[in-house]
Amino acid sequence: MPQSVDTALGILNKQLNQPLAAALEVCARCGICAEACHYFVADPQVENAPAYKAEQLRKVYRAEHDLLSRVFPAWTGAEPLSDEKLAQLAEMAFNKCTLCYRCTANCPMGVDTPLLMTTLRAMATASGYGPEILEMLADAAIEKGKDPEMYLEFFRDSIQDMEKELQALTGNPQASIPLQKKGARMLYVALAGAHTILPAAAIFETVGEDWTLSIYEAANYGVFLGDASRAKEIARRIVDEAKQLGVEEIVISECGHAYYAMRWVAPNWFGDEFNFKVRSIVEVIAEYVKEGRLELDPSANPEAITYHDSCNLARKGGVIEEPRRVLEAITTDFRELTPNREEAYCCGGGSGLVAVPEAYEVRLASGKPKAEQVRRSGAKVVVAACENCRLQIGDLSGHYGLDVGVVALADLVVKAMRLPGYQETIEERMKAEVSVVGN
């Protein structure tokens, strides 16, 4: 048996717990899940049906664990794992499933196909079949956590530049972006670049929030790899920072997988409940709106605007009504996509696909249902509270000729705040980003 196969089977056996065993055993192959998958809707081939994809791992599982399958493999479709098959399974798990959970929600049995695909990703990663780019990004994040001092000075400089922009935006020369502030109430974890820092900083400044900016980025590429040990190391940087600063809560920027990982999975990696809360900035803004802490002018956003539910935030995270409460307060022509909320289609860019150049064609093709939804809505602006969704919908806009702008929720909130320096700062930045995203 090749080493890669041995390693992959070792991972399968190691990860075999009750939820995984149930997902492997319970499927009746009724096929009712097919149309729940955006890959199948875009291209109705059986290979795109969740049951078919999950069955590929079940074949391997049966060959290893099922008595009848070992005696009569053809009877149950059991297939022993080979190096060639492992490569095929890896390609499928990384490129033909975005772990969006829509199939599970639509399955009468509740088969957790994303769990099966995550297991396959773990098997592939451990045996050297994981996408190189995701591995590089995950390893780079871990390295950064080992010696943050190396880049801290550079980060401070860029934050100082951003502070000037913030002061211009808010019209407050005292406005600041606190870094490593001990005892702050909130640790805000942004993504790389100013676009998820500046709008959030303007909102925090306006409501008088006691916050500090994390020196790390929220993205966790270990999650995409299905590699819990890497994912834990990446999360550990932020968890340790939160503990050192003594914050009450970690707030994750508008990033679906980062929120999902830190909010719902990370406590399980560390084997302990956190002594701080974890929320998405969407929830925090919704709270500010509810408490009347932001003065908002919905006429600042008069365009037809729709909201795309990120799978990680909505169906897998329960952040469903909060963005809608905010949008009600900041827009005059809000339109729902159909279906929406926990029934929303995945945009096709999730689970790391946006970062993998080889997946470009497949993600544009699988995003067709989302593109059609957006077109039917007649919206001119799509709000998405997830960076990967924004990048994907921007690409879909170009590919399918939707001609829509794609923005984060915080961008529109800042616009509705009617800040004195909005035109010169955020709007110019947004225009630049939308044009980049739309290409």
């Binding site: 939820p19 065993a21 149309e35 049906a49 049951a51 069955e55 053809a74 479709g77 049995m109 329960g318």
Partner: protein, 212 residues
């Protein structure tokens, strides 16, 4: 020993075997780790579990079952027919005490289950995508279970068919733990995990989410 007694003993032994085999499978399953979710719930996991076993199974609860309502209800009725067949098997020695009208009603229920099973078998064979998903075990499982229901119905209206009913039951019961039929014991767990997931995150039921 009469043929009825012989086949009855055979079916009883098969029932004991299948219960033991399922018990063994459940023991293996329960020996596996069940991960503890240490994240702070946003919603109510218990409400989610309750939903998963009740309203979450309603034909209108999911896009897939709304879209394929007839196929879904066919499946539900087929499975209800299986439980009816099992109930008939267990109380078969005393069923002669029931009035003919009741026996006929039960026979109709079992026959309907068998017909719906047969319809499922044909669909699996005829529909391109479903066929591609299916293994010989899938066809056999549906066929054996449909025959089980048909033989139950036949015996209720035609007494000499009792040995046939027992023999078919025995075959189905022995085959069940090795085949796809065993999904029945994992179903409860799968729904439990699903319910906990969506309940804890306040995704479902909708009442957890406030403005709906």
């Amino acid at each position: 020993m009469t043929l009825i007694l012989f086949t009855q003993i055979f079916a009883a032994l098969a029932l004991v075997f299948t219960l033991a085999a399922f018990g063994w499978r459940l023991r293996l399953f329960n020996a596996l780790a069940r991960p503890v979710d240490r994240s702070t719930p946003k919603g109510n996991p218990r409400l989610g579990i309750l939903y998963a076993y009740t309203l979450g199974m309603a034909p209108w609860a999911k896009e897939s079952t709304r879209r394929h309502g007839i196929a879904y209800l066919r499946g539900v009725a087929f499975h209800l027919g299986i439980f009816l067949g099992l109930a008939i098997l267990i109380v078969s020695p005393w069923l002669y005490l029931l009035p003919v009208a009741w026996r006929t009603l039960l026979a109709l229920g079992a026959a309907l289950g068998a017909l719906l099973g047969l319809a499922g078998f044909i669909t699996r064979f005829a529909e391109h995508n479903l066929k591609a998903l299916s293994t010989p075990d899938d066809y056999t499982a549906v066929l054996v279970v449909s025959l089980f229901q048909a033989s139950a119905g036949l015996w209720l209206v035609f007494a000499p068919a009792l040995p046939l009913f027992y023999m078919v039951s025995a075959v189905m019961l022995v085959y069940a733990p090795f085949s796809k039929i065993r999904h029945c014991i994992y179903y409860a767990y799968s729904r439990l995990f699903f319910g906990k997931f969506v309940g804890s995150r306040a995704v479902l039921p909708h009442s957890q989410q406030g403005a709906r």
